[in-house]
C-alpha cells in the first residue's frame, strides 16, 4: 500500500503547521486547541478512512479479449467492494512496467462486473503484473494506492498491414478466401484428439475401437484454404509487416470460415471451422519474434502456399 499526500493535503499540512506555530506562540486557549485538534483528527481519520476505502477491494480480470495492436478493447472486471460502500476507485493495470489506466469507479458496493476500456497496446503477449486501485476518498488529503496481484495475460496480435505492399498483399489474401468455393474440406485421415479440436470432428467409431478419442484430420481442399509459410529470419520491420499480413489472413479465414495453415520455424498451426482453439494462431502471431540467420528453414509448404515475408530481402535482413 502506497500513501502520498495530495496537493490539497500538502496545503492543508502547511496551514496546520502555521496554526501550530501560532498556537505555541500565543498563550494557551481552549478553542485554539480544539480547532487544531479538529484539523489533526480530520487529517488522521481521513488517512485511516482512505486506507479503509481501498484495503478491502478485490479485483479480478474476468475476460481479456484479443485485440489488434493499438486497438482498444473492453476488459471485464469483477470488483468486490467488501462490506460497505467504496467510493472513488481509480483502476489501472501495470503491463510490463507500464501503467495503463482502466477507468474510474465512483461508487462500488458488493460484487459488480465492470466493463472497462483498455487503450491500444503494442503487439505482444503481455503479462499483467498487477492491478492498481487508487483512491483519494474521503477528504482528498491523501492518495492511497494498493497493488493487487492478478493472473492474466493480454494478447495483442498484429494489426492490419500499413505499408502499401503489405496492405495490398493482405487484401489479395482476403480476396482469395472470398473467391474460393465450398468451405468444406475432405477427411485426409485420423489422428488422436488434441486439445482444441472440435467435438464434431470426433470419429466415434474409431474412438470406440481404439479406446481413446480420435478425430478426423481434414485436408485443405484445393482453392478452399490457404497455407502460409512464415520465415522469421528477417529484419524486425519486415517481420512486423509479414505478421500483419498473416494476421489479416487469419482474420479473413475466420470470417469466411476457410481453413488456414501457418508454417514457421518450429511451429505448424492450423485453423479450420469448428476448432475451438481458434485464438492459438493469433496468440502465436502476437508472440512471434525474429530468428537469427543461422536458424533452420521453415517447413516447406504445399504448392501454391504463400511465403512471407514476400519480395526481395531488404537491407538489414539476416537472411
Amino acid at each position: 500500500m502506497r500513501i502520498r499526500p495530495t496537493e490539497l493535503g500538502l496545503k492543508g499540512l502547511m496551514l496546520l503547521a502555521a496554526l501550530e506555530v501560532a498556537f505555541l506562540a500565543a498563550s494557551y486557549s481552549n478553542l485554539f486547541f480544539l480547532l487544531i485538534a479538529f484539523c489533526c483528527v480530520l487529517g488522521g481519520l481521513g488517512l485511516l478512512w482512505a486506507i479503509g476505502n481501498v484495503r478491502p477491494v478485490r479485483v479480478q480480470i474476468a475476460a481479456v479479449p484479443l485485440a489488434a495492436a493499438d486497438a482498444p478493447r473492453t476488459l471485464q472486471l469483477v470488483l468486490q467492494a467488501g462490506r460497505g460502500t467504496r467510493f472513488d476507485l481509480d483502476l489501472e493495470i501495470v503491463v510490463q512496467g507500464i501503467a495503463v489506466e482502466l477507468g474510474h469507479v465512483p461508487l462500488a458496493a458488493g460484487t459488480s462486473t465492470l466493463s472497462v476500456q483498455l487503450r491500444g497496446l503494442p503487439r505482444g503477449v503481455q503479462r499483467v503484473q498487477h492491478l492498481g486501485v487508487t483512491s483519494r476518498f474521503p477528504f482528498g488529503f491523501f492518495r492511497v494506492r494498493r497493488d493487487l496481484l492478478v493472473d492474466a495475460e493480454i494478447v495483442t496480435h498484429p494489426g492490419p498491414a500499413r505499408a502499401p505492399g503489405g496492405a495490398r498483399q493482405a487484401m489479395a489474401l482476403a480476396a482469395r478466401f472470398a473467391a474460393t468455393g465450398s468451405s468444406t474440406s475432405s477427411v485426409a485421415g485420423l489422428r488422436p484428439f488434441r486439445s482444441g479440436d472440435s467435438t464434431s470432428d470426433v470419429h466415434w467409431k474409431a474412438s470406440a475401437r481404439r479406446g481413446a478419442p480420435i478425430v478426423k484430420e481434414r485436408e485443405l481442399e484445393r482453392g478452399g484454404g490457404l497455407e502460409i509459410v512464415l520465415d522469421r529470419r528477417c529484419s524486425t520491420a519486415r517481420l512486423e509487416e509479414a505478421l500483419s499480413i498473416a494476421a489479416s489472413a487469419v482474420l479473413a479465414a475466420r470470417e469466411s470460415e476457410r481453413p488456414l495453415r501457418l508454417l514457421s520455424q518450429d511451429s505448424v498451426l492450423e485453423w479450420s471451422r469448428g476448432r475451438r482453439d481458434d485464438q492459438a494462431m493469433l496468440r502465436w502471431l502476437a508472440a512471434a519474434s525474429t530468428l537469427p540467420a543461422s536458424a533452420p528453414n521453415p517447413p516447406a509448404g504445399a504448392a501454391g502456399c504463400v511465403h512471407l515475408p514476400g519480395g526481395p530481402p531488404a537491407e538489414g535482413d539476416d537472411a
Partner: protein, 645 residues
C-alpha cells in the same frame, strides 16, 4: 471546480458570513452587501464570462480592498479587527463568485476554516459553537464531494445522495474523536507561549490602593458557600425581593482600580443620593415613601460592615442593634461600626421598599466626578467602541437609552468567565476587544467606561446578587460566591438606574429560563459550551476519572446497559438492512410512498405502476416520478452489467 460542488461552497460562505456576524465586531450594515453578493452568486457567476463584467467586478473588489487596508492601518485596533474580518469574508465572497471550471476550490476551504478560526477568538459563545457544528457538517461532505468530483465532474443524484449520507457518520466520528482528544490530551492550561507577553495588549493599568476593586488580577476565585445573609419577604414571594443588594459604590477609576465614592474626607462627600436620616425610634428613613413590601434580613457576615440593601430601600429598622454605630454613606448605604464587646453573631433588620429613589439633582462637581476618566488614558479599543455604540444611536438619544444600549451590547457580545482559567482577559482592553472573557467586574468596568465616554455619569457598585431561593425556610439565601458588581447610571434629573451588563445566564445559576424546552436546551448547551471554553486541568482530571469509572458505573446498572445495548443493536440492524437495500429498490419505495399507494404482496413494479396510472387521485408529477423510478429499477436490476446506468 466541478459544478456540483457549488451549492456546498455557497453554504460554507454563508456560514462564514454568519461567523463574522456573530462576532458583532463588524456592524450588520457593513455585512449586508456581502450577504447580498453571496446570495446572488448562483446568478452573478454566470456573468463572469463577460469581459466587461469581470473588469467591473475585479476593479470593485480592488477598490474595496484598498479602502479597507487604508482604514485598518489608520484607525484603532478595533477597526483593524473589523476590517480584517471584512477582508476575509470579502475574499470568500469574491472566490465564490469567480471560481472557474478549471480552478480548484482549495482556497475557499482554507479561507472558510480560517474565518471560523479567527472569529472563535471574538465570539466564543453558543452561537459560534452552533455555527461551527453546522460548518463541520458542511465542510466534511464538501471535501468528500470534491474528492469524488475530481474524476466525475457531473455527479449523478444517487451518487451525491450516497456521499452526503456517508458524510454524516464521518462528521460525527470526527466530532467525537476531537472531543476525546480535547479531554484526554495532556497539556499546560496556563502556558504563556513564546510571544505571550509581546502579543498582550498594552498594560495601561497598574495596581492601586487598598480597599479597592482591582480588575487586572487573574487569581483563581474561590467560590465560597459561606452564608452572607438571608432575606425573608413578608409576602413569602421571592419575586418581591430585588436581586441587587448594594454594599459599596465606587466612583474613581485610576485605570486598574476602583476607589470607593466616600474615600475622601467626610466633608468632601458628594451629594448624589437620597440620604438616610435617623429617626427617634431608631429606624433610618429616606425621602421616598414606602410603597413596596417589607423584607426581613439576617446579616451573617459582619465583615461587610454595611447593612446591605437594594437601591429602592426607604426604611431600615434594626432588630438587634446593640453595640452598633451606623454611618449613612453618600451613595445610599448604611455602614456600621461594631463595638468590640458587641455580642453579635448576626444582625437582624427589616428593609421597607419604596418606588424609585427620590432624585437628587447632581451638582456640577458631582457630575464631573462621576464622568472622570483615568489620567493615564484609556486603550483605543474602549474609545473606538464607545464612539461606535454612540454612532448607532440617534443624535438626540437620551442618557437612559445610551446607557441601556451599551449595557445590552456588552451582555450580548462579551463572554463571562471567572478569573484564573484559560481564555480570561488579561486587561480591560482584551476584554473589550473580545479576545478574552471577563467576570462581573470586567463587565461593570467596561460599561462604566463606555458610559463615561458617552457623557453619562455613572459609578460601579459592589454588593451581592440574591437569587437562591430556599423554599424550606421561605427565604432567599445569599452566599459569599454571590458577590457581584454592576453599574448605576445617573440620569440628568438625578435619578439612579441599575445596569447589570453581566449576562444573566452566567450569574443567575439557578434562575435560568428552563420553563420552555428551548430554554432548557439552551441552558444545557450554554453550560456545555462554557465547560469547553473554560476547560482546565481540574475539569480534565474529573473527566478522566469519570471515564475510568465508567465500567464500574455500567456494571452497577446491568438492566440499563442491557437496554442500551439492545437498542444499539436494533438500530445497527436497521441501519445494515437499509444499507443492504439496493439503491434502485430504495428509490422505488420512496416513489411509491410519494404516490400514497403501497406495494401489495406479489405485485411487480409494473403492476403497481399500472394501478397508480388507473387511480384517479394520484398526482401526475408523482406518477411520472414513479414511472421513472420503476424504469430505473428495471434497468439496474435486469440489464446486463455493462449496460447498467
Amino acid at each position: 471546480m466541478p459544478e456540483c460542488l457549488f451549492p456546498l461552497l455557497f453554504v460554507l460562505t454563508l456560514l462564514d458570513l454568519g461567523f463574522v456576524e456573530a462576532t458583532a465586531v463588524v456592524s450588520g450594515s457593513e455585512l449586508v452587501p456581502l450577504w447580498l453578493l453571496a446570495a446572488a452568486s448562483p446568478w452573478l457567476r454566470r456573468l463572469q464570462r463577460y469581459w466587461l463584467y469581470r473588469c467591473f467586478w475585479n476593479l470593485g473588489v480592488l477598490v474595496v480592498f484598498a479602502l479597507l487596508v487604508r482604514h485598518a492601518t489608520t484607525t484603532g485596533l478595533l477597526h483593524m479587527l473589523e476590517d480584517g474580518l471584512l477582508l476575509a469574508v470579502l475574499c470568500q465572497v469574491h472566490l465564490l463568485n469567480n471560481i472557474g471550471e478549471r480552478q480548484r476550490p482549495d482556497l475557499i476551504f482554507f479561507n472558510s476554516f480560517l474565518v471560523a478560526f479567527v472569529t472563535s477568538f471574538f465570539a466564543a459563545d453558543l452561537v459560534w459553537s452552533l455555527l461551527f457544528v453546522a460548518h463541520s457538517f458542511v465542510l466534511v461532505p464538501t471535501l468528500q464531494v470534491y474528492a469524488l468530483a475530481r474524476r466525475e465532474p457531473q455527479l449523478a443524484r444517487d451518487l451525491l445522495r450516497a456521499v452526503l449520507r456517508d458524510s454524516v457518520p464521518r462528521t460525527v466520528a470526527v466530532g467525537c474523536v476531537t472531543a476525546l482528544v480535547f479531554v484526554v490530551w495532556p497539556r499546560d492550561f496556563h502556558r504563556d507561549g513564546w510571544l505571550g507577553e509581546a502579543m498582550a495588549l498594552g498594560r495601561d493599568f497598574e495596581a492601586g490602593l487598598a480597599e479597592q476593586i482591582r480588575i487586572d488580577h487573574e487569581q483563581p476565585t474561590l467560590l465560597s458557600d459561606a452564608l452572607v445573609m438571608q432575606i425573608r419577604p413578608a409576602s413569602g414571594r421571592a419575586e418581591q425581593v430585588p436581586s441587587h443588594w448594594r454594599a459599596t459604590a465606587f466612583s474613581i477609576f485610576d485605570g486598574a482600580t476602583w476607589l470607593p465614592q466616600d474615600s475622601g474626607s467626610f466633608g468632601s462627600r458628594l451629594s448624589t443620593d437620597d440620604p438616610w436620616r435617623g429617626r427617634r425610634d431608631g429606624s433610618w428613613q429616606r425621602t421616598a415613601a414606602p410603597a413596596g413590601g417589607v423584607l426581613q434580613v439576617r446579616l451573617h457576615d459582619l465583615d461587610t460592615k454595611r447593612l446591605l440593601c437594594p437601591l429602592q430601600s426607604t426604611v431600615i429598622r434594626l432588630g438587634n442593634g446593640e453595640g452598633l454605630l451606623l454611618d449613612a454613606k453618600s451613595y445610599g448605604v448604611l455602614a456600621f461600626l461594631r463595638l468590640e464587646d458587641a455580642p453579635l453573631s448576626w444582625i437582624d433588620y427589616t428593609v421597607a421598599l419604596g418606588g424609585p429613589p427620590a432624585p437628587v439633582p447632581p451638582s456640577p462637581g458631582a457630575r464631573a466626578h462621576l464622568l472622570s476618566l483615568p489620567g493615564n488614558g484609556l486603550p483605543g479599543v474602549v474609545q473606538d467602541l464607545a464612539a461606535r455604540l454612540r454612532a448607532q444611536l440617534p443624535a438626540d438619544a437620551d442618557a437612559e437609552r445610551i446607557a441601556r444600549a451599551s449595557c445590552d451590547w456588552l451582555r450580548e457580545h462579551r463572554r463571562y468567565q471567572l478569573p484564573g482559567g484559560p481564555g480570561f482577559a488579561r486587561n480591560i482592553g482584551e476584554f473589550l476587544l473580545g479576545s478574552g472573557a471577563g467576570h462581573c467586574e470586567y463587565f461593570a468596568t467596561a460599561l462604566a467606561l463606555l458610559l463615561r465616554l458617552q457623557d453619562v455619569p455613572c459609578r460601579l457598585v459592589g454588593g451581592y446578587l440574591a437569587h437562591e431561593w430556599d423554599a424550606q425556610s421561605g427565604a432567599l439565601v445569599v452566599r459569599a460566591r454571590d458577590a457581584h458588581a454592576w453599574v448605576e447610571a445617573m440620569l440628568p434629573d438625578g435619578v439612579w438606574i441599575t445596569l447589570d451588563a453581566t449576562p444573566p445566564s452566567d450569574v443567575f445559576g439557578n434562575r435560568r429560563d428552563e420553563s420552555s424546552w428551548w430554554g432548557s436546551v439552551r441552558t444545557n448547551l450554554e453550560s456545555l459550551w462554557s465547560d469547553v471554553v473554560m476547560f482546565d486541568g481540574k475539569k480534565r482530571l474529573r473527566w478522566l476519572q469519570a471515564l475510568g469509572d465508567l465500567p464500574e458505573a455500567l456494571a452497577a446498572r446491568p438492566f440499563g446497559v442491557l437496554m442500551g445495548l439492545g437498542g444499539a443493536i436494533g438500530v445497527l440492524c436497521l441501519w445494515r438492512r437499509r444499507r443492504q437495500s439496493l439503491p434502485a429498490i430504495v428509490e422505488l419505495q420512496r416513489a411509491v410512498r410519494a404516490t400514497g399507494l403501497a406495494l401489495q404482496r406479489g405485485e411487480t413494479p409494473r403492476e403497481l405502476l399500472a394501478r397508480a396510472a388507473a387511480a384517479a387521485d394520484v398526482d401526475p408529477r408523482r406518477l411520472q416520478g414513479l414511472r421513472e423510478a420503476a424504469q430505473r429499477h428495471e434497468a439496474r436490476r435486469y440489464a446486463p452489467p455493462a449496460a447498467r446506468p
